[in-house]
């Protein structure tokens, strides 16, 4: 234990409640239109809500997960205007007019896309909690780098933690897809 002096103030309920919640801001309801996986959703949201919250709580699209709610873990990763973002740290109102893609949009009906199939085939999932984020990170990567190296893939998913340690299989799954090696 290192001593860095009195830290009691730091500890007042502040760190024990969710810092990312704008609890001191007044509640203001706004109607916004979100474009998610190609569909438009017109909804009333609390202007303080994050995109992740609105997806999960208002729209009941719970495929996007939360692991920290403050940009630490990457579990909430989705694609906005072609780039991966942490949806826990973007307000829903900021996402208006943007093109949002989530895990729910990957499969067409019950047909999984090649990346999803490759994840299953390579056992690139354990508890599965990070997997929506991993899939979105890999999707974004494969759009800009069609033939990634192993290093590119590692970099591409480095913003998402997987505590189960499925990384080697995730990397393999992404490489398989980029090389057209999925036959499920």
């Amino acid at each position: 234990m290192t001593s860095i002096g009195e830290l009691r103030l730091h500890m007042e309920p502040k760190t024990l409640v969710d810092e990312n919640r704008h609890q001191n801001q007044p509640r203001r309801v706004r109607r916004i239109v979100l474009s998610i996986n190609g569909d438009s959703h017109s909804i009333e949201v609390d202007a303080r809500s994050t995109l992740a919250e609105v997806l999960r709580e208002n729209l009941r699209m719970t495929g996007t997960k939360l692991g920290c709610n403050r940009s630490e873990c990457g579990t909430c990763t989705l694609i906005m205007d072609g780039r991966t973002v942490f949806s826990c740290t973007i307000l829903a109102v900021e996402a208006e007019g943007k093109c949002i893609e989530t895990i729910e949009g990957l499969a067409s009906g019950s047909d999984l896309n090649p990346l999803q199939k490759a994840f299953i085939k390579n056992d690139a999932l354990q508890c599965g909690y990070c997997i929506p984020a991993m899939l979105m990170a890999a999707t974004a990567l494969l759009r800009v780098k069609m033939e990634p190296t192993e290093d590119d893939v590692r970099q591409g998913i480095a913003g998402v933690y997987c505590r189960c340690g499925a990384y080697p299989n995730i990397v393999r799954a992404v490489l398989d897809v980029s090389r057209g090696q999925v036959d499920c």
Binding site: T15, R70, L112, I120, C127, G128, I131, R163, G165, I170
Partner: protein
Amino acid sequence: MTEAKLLVQGIPPEPLDRPFTVIGHSISRIDGVEKVSGTAEYAGDIQLPNMLCAKILRCPHAHARILKIDTSKAEALPGVKAVISRNNFPDWLTYWYLIPQFAFPEIVSYVGQEVAAVAAVDIDTAERALKLIEVDYQELPAVFDPEEALKPTSQKVTPLDVPDSTCPRAPAAWPVGNLYEGKTDIHTRGDIAKGFQDADVVIEEVYNTSYQFHATLQTRSSVIDWDGENMTVHDSCQGVWQVSQDIAKSLGLPMEKVRVVVKYQGGGFGSKAGAQRYLHYASRLAMMAGRPVRIELTRPEEFISHPHRHATKTYLKMGVKRDGTLTAMEGRSILNLGVGSTYGNQKEKLIETAFELYECPNVKLEQVAVYTNTPLTGYMRSVMRAIGDFFLEAHMDRLAVEIGMDPLDLRMKNYAVFGDQVKKLPYSAKNLDKCMKISTDAIDWKHRDRFVEDNKNGPIKRGIGMASYMYDGVGMAPFKASADVVIKRNGTVEVLAGVVDIGGGQATMMAMLAAEELGVNVNSVKTVWGDTGPTQFAPGTHASRMTAEMGPAVVQAAANARKKLFELTAQRLSAEPIELRSALGKIQVSRDQQRSMSFEEACQLIPDGEEIRASGSRKPNPKDIVFHTFGSQACEVEVNTDTGAVRVLRVASAHELGKVLNPKLVDSQHYGGIIMGIGYTLLEDPEFDSKTGIMLNPDLHQYRIPTSLEVPEILPFNIEAPDPFFAYSAKAVGEAPIVPVAPSVRNAIYHAAGIWINSLPITPDAVLKALGKSK
């Protein structure tokens, strides 16, 4: 399997007399589609009508007396539906894996302890209500260091655990001073004084290991539904039956009124075994408010509020002859329990590896468990074994270097044949020598000095290290593990297992076992798990026990179901039931294979409206045989002597597990264990303020867990050997691969850079210090 030895109640089923058709195949896990499509439902995804949100008020002091709590302002806040604290529940005991604990004691003993809890219509209101609760604390002196806490003059910690001699995990008595149960655990054999006299070289070292946090990606979440009579807990736990037991006991409800359901859960690693404290408060709130309650812990709460791997300090002295014969070992391990722990049934686990892994005639090892004003400790992926292996295997390398012997040779020379060196009890199987050979060969151990020339130039040094280990995961008390298999008229099969698939693929494995035993394709088998409703009592999925404990039960249930089906089928095939065999969905007469019918056709013979249902139950391990799994890892590392950074480049991991049920799933466990082990060894560095006991880095930015960038090349090897006590010989893998990571990396760092580091984690700073480049 030749003889019927399967560890089940009653007569064991005859071993299958045909090659496997399902077992041993890399079948994709049966819940893959849900997990890749975002439809897998985790507890935090559940929204029930009228649901409230719960929040917990936590204590900011490491040790304090609560003089007064005023919750009136919180209660008056519109939208608040229930508030609990010691005002309304002063004597409440909660249960954690049946260990009784104070819910709202007068004395709070660590920073983060629960003081009150609130349920409100939304989370903002609940958080606002917490701020309105006024607590008067009288601060007390606190003690954080276990050696300090052992001094007679030390401040006494008030532990959360209440002694209960009927619970094997609870302390049997109150501590004396801060010493757990007032006594230490000592293991001895031979005469250590004589042993040290016989030694040519005696080495003494001190080893320190830090806490490790589970950092499951899903923070703890539950939704509790109370209808005035029955409770349903939608949980993220590792053991539905254990949570039901705990919650029922804590709330004074009969167990059948507490149904626990887990559909998916986002990582456990031991931390979600048994009902955790937050769940008791949330359940109580649901009962009081008469409405469903959701609780989700924040990431900082995850760090401070749930039990994690203990920090330890070990004094170790070992003697060896020049020819490599170990002559004596003496050690004292001090274990920081925090304010409470599942220590009870982990007793001696910390020192057991050192006691039994190598042959040594004279040993004295002592384990000292101490309460301090730090957070709770408990199960975590090989919780004690990973620590015990670190100091033993670190010391073995040091001895080898001192006597100029190859570390692999030293381990082979002192190979222990028996599971109990005094009573000479046999192991059910042990092929550690094979594991050592395979893992070291894979990394070209013989030529490990190939880096010597290159290492002379520049800051980058490469080296190779190894470590061996033993692990349990083969069935432990308290014991009750049963499963059912149901065959339906439409030809589908259900395995009902009251366990939780925590990501290891347990549901898939149960389905595979039943499919093999019944002789059907795995696609026709569904595993019903994670629900106390339709299942029988089963162990929690932790301690790598699922395959070894539930496996035999599932095989027995399937064998019994098959027998019933054969009885229906035999007449149609003009044969005796005993003459029938099934494989891959086909039932045949063994002496005339032309006479056959499909499994589906056979199922049609089940009378309308009925089904075949059969049970299986595991029996405890016999006492005169020692059951363990074994393994060895060798790794290659790179040390940057300018920056202190260590990179693990390659790990060869050989694990003896009896039989591989599904190679793909087993390999994933090697990856998971090794990657978490790399975090433990190099990255995960919790910091607590020494004055206040406040955790300084309760977040995933500063408490760093491995990303995809830290992952080495991993070469998994699974060593099979018959062990007919288990389902097709299959024992455990889950936790074991984390065990030798720290010592093998540490030994490789010495090989690369010539520095011995005896404390975990091995941060760049620690490396630079050892190199004399930083103070």
